[in-house]
Subunit: 469 residues, 2 copies
């Protein structure tokens, strides 16, 4: 192949090489494409069903053309029904409903205003019609375009305003040439309504994709991912006898990369979910905005964990104490409790609080451990990483507490099932012993007995712990 | 007003109250709306000019209706030109070009395929026409909808695929009813080209909004915001004699909230900027993707700073040493150098590297300071916050270095002006003295003299410092 540089290649040999290489290359490309397509379908099979749904909706709407009586009543306006189906049919029910409703209302209002302008134009001389129409087109076009910049409008009604300008322009300009503009506009509105309803019915009735449910699951799974990472912090990382970081940790970092950048996605989903009426476990006016609050707090927690992760990877040589590991496991469990509470829509606040309290207790005991050690003359700089991890973990625990409060609020707003668990059985403490909840002077205490080195975490009341920050 | 609860309110008094309250309320609403509109316009005056541009484009395209010879040649197909202007006319040049080109190509290809299906249908019996058309509609609709899920297609050609399905459906279905479909399809294509070009010309020629320039400025200003914060860390926060956090810091947190969540926005902008040809300082094929790399590293740096900020706000009572302040100021300066390098498209790598080296030196001296202090028997837990801030600052400095490398790459890809500055004048050191760059055995050293407490930072060669991590 080195002989085929542009300097010495003869046209014939170049062509023959291309002829040999091209089929292989295009074959590889096709295989690659097929692999990608398969992966897309496997990642979310609803993509395949959605594609068939669009095909079905198109075939259904084409019936308006084939069936003579239907075509007789609408004529060439039927094409608006086809356009509507193509444009309105979105992946999720919320997006389809939002676009359909926006399109129908905007066509009605834009058409009415266009008709009003036509009436206004007829009050003037015939020669001035075009001036009145052009002037109103300029003014209404400019004003409506500016209104689209309002954040509230942009989020939910952007498409509607675009269709409003479109219909207004079409109706008002057509009125200059066509005297039967009212009939035409009515037919257009009617076919757009038919197309919108067809798209909405197909979207809702055949394998519906509820974006609200997706948002619900996304928020819960983001929390779960962080919980997995924190638990893994204890199990995978600290447990390595030589202290080096395992390769699996890399995938944790990748995992919460999606958590860190989910804000825009969550906001779009919450806006679209607002269009969906009650479905499945979700009632009408489900508090979708509260999910954004939980999502924001989850991201803040993820920023802390990101810092924690970098810290650990920068100093892999240091031995981190049991308490750090325990705090990581307990805060991971707290997050997983929160995630499963959202997923199952059942709220046990007590167990989450117990895990948070345990994690805090571990950090507290770590601090006193450090104090003792340094009195014995250990080099401070050697325990700096431990201290840094401990202080970052404290931050993580505080932000978990904030997530817990937001989930609590969500639970009451969204009418989660409320369950109180009486913690009487000892919780198993990994590798270290057990935590025994005990009642002492009306306060719930945790008595932690370690199998390796007997020590007691004196944690006062959970309530006190949780409100002390 | 307490008497107007639904239980005891009489219809008459309720109505009169409404009559009294409503005008005031709507008056307040209108004032509020006007205020919001004014703010929207002031925040970005290009919103107002864009609105007028849309109005102008609509008025211009309506001329196709008023001018008899033009209307004679296109007839009712003229409405496609209006639709095209409304839909294609976007805020930025990139978005308008992208939509226009997508729309024209998709109409051409979709129409051709639709015509092909019509030809295929004519090969069959007349009664089977509708079956062939309906079947191809289902298959092509489903396949093209699935293709829209490919990430590469979704990012740049989603609109084109939607228009492809639309045109294909319209042409193939219409062919069932209309034998002159080719002429109609050609007219439609022609008016769509006219509308697209009109929108693109208005978008480019009248106060153009180049999204590439916006991306360029966004990336630079995000880096600058972080620099401001780090400099402020030294000046505003640490400098307070009582150590409490000043109120202005709250606004810093708000400022980099937008930095943290800019990923989606930057990606959209880079995709749209790809449609823009050379303009102003930007050549054809400007490396927009490299801005995403710089942006990603900026966000990673912001995560670290977020952790730093929380740490500081959690422990406001502790005195933080001079070195921390100095490291903050120097890393802030490094970021601001990077930001102004991007803004001015002129790259001085030496000064940035000097600031980074200075910041590292400050952290180094801090560590030795801590070592000395603890030997003297100071309580470790009291200096934990200092240690944590120092370790987080180290992380921040490392990520600034990565940003610097990415900007270096950007500078060579985008052909920034390269300038080497010979650092011979002493850099002023705020509140503390001066940094004197000195040459010692072919290595650039920085001699820092403090006005308050004389001390020397021994920093070996910058190159060594920068490659040691």
């Amino acid at each position: 192949m080195a002989s085929l540089t542009p300097q010495n290649a003869k046209p014939f040999s170049l062509a023959s090489t291309w002829l040999r290489v091209l089929p292989k290359k295009s074959c590889a490309n096709v295989t690659n494409l097929a692999k990608n397509a398969k992966k897309l379908g496997q990642d979310d099979p609803r993509r395949i069903t959605h594609s068939f749904k669009v095909g079905l909706a198109l075939t259904l709407v084409s019936m308006l053309f084939y069936v003579q009586p239907l075509y007789d009543s609408f004529g060439s306006s039927t094409m608006w029904a086809i356009m509507t189906v193509v444009v309105v049919m979105e992946f999720s029910v919320g997006a389809t409903l939002g676009k359909g409703i926006n399109r129908m209302l905007a066509t009605l209002l834009g058409g009415s205003l266009g008709f009003g302008v036509q009436q206004l134009a007829t009050l003037t001389e015939k020669e001035d019609h075009s001036i009145v129409i052009a002037f109103s087109l300029f003014i209404i076009g400019a004003i409506m375009t500016f209104v689209r910049f309002f954040p509230g409008v942009k989020a939910k009604y952007d498409y509607g305003f675009s269709i409003f300008i479109l219909t207004f322009s079409l109706v008002s300009i057509s009125s200059y040439r066509d005297d039967y503009i009212q009939i035409l506009a009515c037919k257009r509105l009617l076919t757009i309504i038919i197309g919108s309803f067809l798209a909405m019915i197909v979207s809702i009735c055949i394998w519906p994709v509820w974006i609200g449910e997706d948002l619900h699951n996304l928020v819960a799974s983001n929390i779960e991912k962080l919980g997995d990472f924190l638990e893994g912090l204890g199990e995978d990382y600290f447990d390595e006898s030589d202290g080096t970081k395992t390769v699996t940790n890399k995938s944790f970092a990748d995992k919460y990369e999606t958590v860190l950048n989910s804000k825009t996605r969550e906001e779009t989903m919450a806006n679209l979910a607002g269009w969906e009426a009650c479905h499945g476990r979700f009632r009408f006016r489900h508090p979708w905005k509260q999910y954004l609050k939980v999502g924001n707090l989850t991201r803040k927690c993820a920023y802390k964990i990101e810092a924690l992760d970098c810290y650990i990877s920068n100093d892999p040589g240091n031995k981190i104490k049991d308490s750090c590991q325990y705090a990581g496991i307990e805060s991971g469990k707290a997050l997983k409790e929160l995630s499963s509470a959202i997923k199952s829509m059942t709220w046990f606040s007590t167990t989450t609080k117990a895990h948070i309290a345990n994690a805090k207790g571990a950090i507290k005991s770590l601090n006193s451990l450090v104090k003792e050690n340094t009195r014995e003359g250990i080099d401070v700089l050697e325990i700096v990483p431990i201290l840094a991890v401990a202080s970052l973990l404290t931050d993580v625990i505080i932000s978990i507490q904030r997530i817990s409060e937001a989930v609590d609020e969500l639970a009451s707003l969204a009418h989660f099932k409320m369950t109180t668990i009486n913690v009487t059985k000892p919780l198993p403490l990994q590798r270290e012993g057990t935590i025994q909840p005990i009642m002492f002077q009306d306060e719930l205490l945790y008595n932690i007995t370690s199998s390796t080195s007997p020590k007691q975490y004196e944690i006062s009341s959970i309530a006190l712990m949780i409100h002390s920050v």
